[in-house]
């Protein structure tokens, strides 16, 4: 019992045992042994991140100032790549589609939250089976899920078109993946369907860590369902939720396999989200300077999109550390 209560003290009603006075009163500076531990623990992480990600990143910044063909000598051209990009009409199409595609995260969050809240209730039977079922879209490679949807949405022979036609919702088959109006919405919806269980797993783990006694206490104080959600549930899952939203925005925008498989970035540039544009420059036109220029702008756009969540997340962690 004591262990359970000690897990999340401070919110909403502090039931943690009194802190040992000595430990609480003075936070000692880390002693030598602890400092060793800190650096020893950090070392592998820092090594991995710097070697696997930061060196390529810095090299990319360097490359974006060059005309850098796949084969042949690179040539310094300063900001020319950036000027070319901002001047091009397709670039702004790309930005628009990227913003639309990032909305997928909101849909994912809605589905994941509904499923996680429902499956954290005690009265639902066969919970672990349903949890497994929820996982299914994410339990197979996104390229596979893409293939499934290509089959289901096939304009001539697929299930979806068939039912939409027979119910009279549409009058003639729609070529979902090449229709300029639909293609960008379809890749967004398929991405939402594919990736939402990622958030579901994280949110469920966070919900499971809330001690039942908090809900009981809130009920004793007469809190209704909405109040209980606001006062008990939300504060405890906010950190996990923000972390998951940040990761999903970043990954939705950086991972390319599925939308590329579905539409190849077309028609025209209608579904070329920034990551696909990067791919087109790098591997279809062999222009690595331009590819990294787009890549850096992708980082910038992603950063702008996650900035508010990042801010909230940092605040949440600081608060947690004050408790």
């Amino acid at each position: 019992m004591a262990r359970q209560e000690a897990l999340h003290p401070g919110h909403p009603i502090d039931i943690s045992p009194a802190l040992p006075a000595a430990a609480a009163a003075s936070r000692p500076r880390p002693v030598a042994a602890e400092r060793w531990l800190i650096w020893l623990f950090l070392l592998p992480t820092v090594l991995f991140l710097v070697l696997l990600l930061w060196l390529p990143f810095l090299q990319g910044v360097w490359m974006s100032f060059h005309k850098w063909p796949f084969i042949g000598e690179p040539e310094w051209i300063g900001l020319q790549n950036y000027r070319d990009l901002f001047g091009a009409a397709y670039f702004w199409t790309t930005i628009r589609v990227t913003l639309l595609y990032s909305l997928s995260t909101a849909l994912q969050l809605a589905l994941a939250l509904a499923a996680a809240l429902a499956l954290n209730q005690s009265f639902i039977p066969l919970k672990s089976v349903w949890r497994g079922v929820m996982l299914m879209p994410y339990a197979m490679p996104p390229v596979v899920v893409g293939a499934i949807w290509m089959y289901l949405l096939d304009p001539d022979l697929g299930m979806v078109t068939h039912y939409l036609l027979s119910w009279g919702i549409i009058s003639k088959p729609i070529y979902w993946f090449s229709d300029p109006l639909w293609a960008k919405w379809i890749i967004m919806l398929v991405a939402s369907w594919t990736f939402w269980p990622f958030m579901f797993i994280i949110l469920l783990a966070a919900l499971q860590a809330i001690p039942e006694s908090y809900y009981e206490l809130a009920e004793v104080y007469g809190a209704n369902l909405w109040r209980r959600f606001r006062v008990v549930t939300l504060p405890h899952i906010r950190g996990a939720m923000l972390a998951a939203v940040i990761i999903r925005i970043a990954w939705n925008l950086a991972k390319i396999e599925q939308p590329f498989q579905l539409t190849g970035g077309g028609p025209g540039y209608e579904t070329s989200v920034l990551s696909i544009l990067t791919y087109r420059f790098a591997y279809l036109s062999g222009d690595f300077g331009m590819a990294f220029t787009v890549g850096l702008l992708l980082i910038l756009v992603t950063f702008v999109l996650i900035a508010p969540f990042l801010h909230g997340f940092q605040k949440q962690i600081k608060q947690a550390r004050r408790r």
Binding site: I124, A139, F292
Partner: protein, 278 residues
């Protein structure tokens, strides 16, 4: 557990059941259709109907006997497991320190991680391939494990850090007052408390390896540790005509193991919490 004794009123029940039903339908309608397609003979693939007229195992036989698909499933399994273990060995200590300790350069570290999270991975493929060939990791399992860390470590640290930071701060101090070293406080006190989140993360990390196409495709050859996702991708877009029935069989074979694994891991979660409440 206390959960069972609590009186559930009507509103949460209605909300929960309807939420559950909607999400289940969204997941199960496409899947049900696919699962049944896997049992259709080739000529029925594009009849839009749920039940096959003739039940057939041809596609299953073809996938296993001709394509040797189970071998690739095994490869995916090893790729995912190795990646998950390696990732947690690196990320758990890092995230613990990052979430709970003060040290110089912490802010710099924060941006190092954020940037790692945002990097357009597709640009890493060519540099990695060149490097992997040079250092002999190309077409090997450890090479895949290492490459997957690009995805896993940043997000694992990100999530673990939040979890560790939210554990009450006096825990280690108590342990140390009672004579634990800093390391023992981590190993004996903090690690067991983080078990549910570590299990979930291990599972998500496994899925990164299991699902990855980008690196699995570029860093392996037909003779090496090809994973199932590459094989499925090739059969979905490679040939002139897609064998949809075989593809659906492969889809099911690739989708079921992680689901079972997750259901089993759930037992692990429940055990953790059963101990916690009484």
């Amino acid at each position: 557990m206390a959960m069972h004794t609590r009186r559930a009123t009507l509103t949460p029940k209605v909300l929960s059941y309807s939420g559950l039903a909607v999400v289940l339908l969204i997941v199960l309608i496409p899947y049900g259709y696919i699962a049944l397609t896997a049992f259709k003979p080739a000529e029925e693939i594009f009849d839009v109907r749920w039940l096959p007229r003739v039940w057939s195992l041809d596609a299953w036989r073809y996938a296993i006997e001709f394509e040797q698909f189970h071998v690739y499933i095994y490869n995916s399994m090893i790729a995912g497991l190795g990646a998950a273990v390696l990732a947690l060995c690196v990320a758990v200590p890092g995230a613990y320190v990052f979430g709970r300790k003060q040290f110089r350069g912490k802010d710099v570290m924060f941006y190092i991680i954020v940037m790692a999270l945002l990097f357009p991975f597709v640009l890493l493929v060519v540099p990695f391939t060149i490097l992997w060939v040079k250092i002999g990791l190309y077409d090997t399992m450890p090479g895949l494990w290492l490459a997957y860390q690009v995805f896993i470590i940043p997000f694992a640290i990100w999530i673990l850090r939040a979890y560790f930071a939210e554990l009450p701060r006096f825990l280690e101090e108590c342990a140390m007052v009672y004579g634990c070293t800093a390391f023992k406080a981590f190993w004996r006190v903090m690690l067991p408390l983080a078990k549910p989140i570590i299990t979930s993360l291990m599972f998500l990390a496994f899925l990164v390896g299991w699902n990855d196409f980008l690196f699995s495709n570029m860093l392996t050859t037909g003779q090496g540790p090809r994973t199932a996702s590459v094989i499925i991708y090739v059969s979905a877009v490679g040939g002139e005509r897609v064998e949809w029935d075989v593809l659906m069989v492969m889809t099911l074979m690739a989708g079921i193991p992680p689901v079972l694994l997750y259901i089993l891991a759930q037992g692990q979660f429940l055990k953790t919490f059963a101990v916690r409440s009484y």
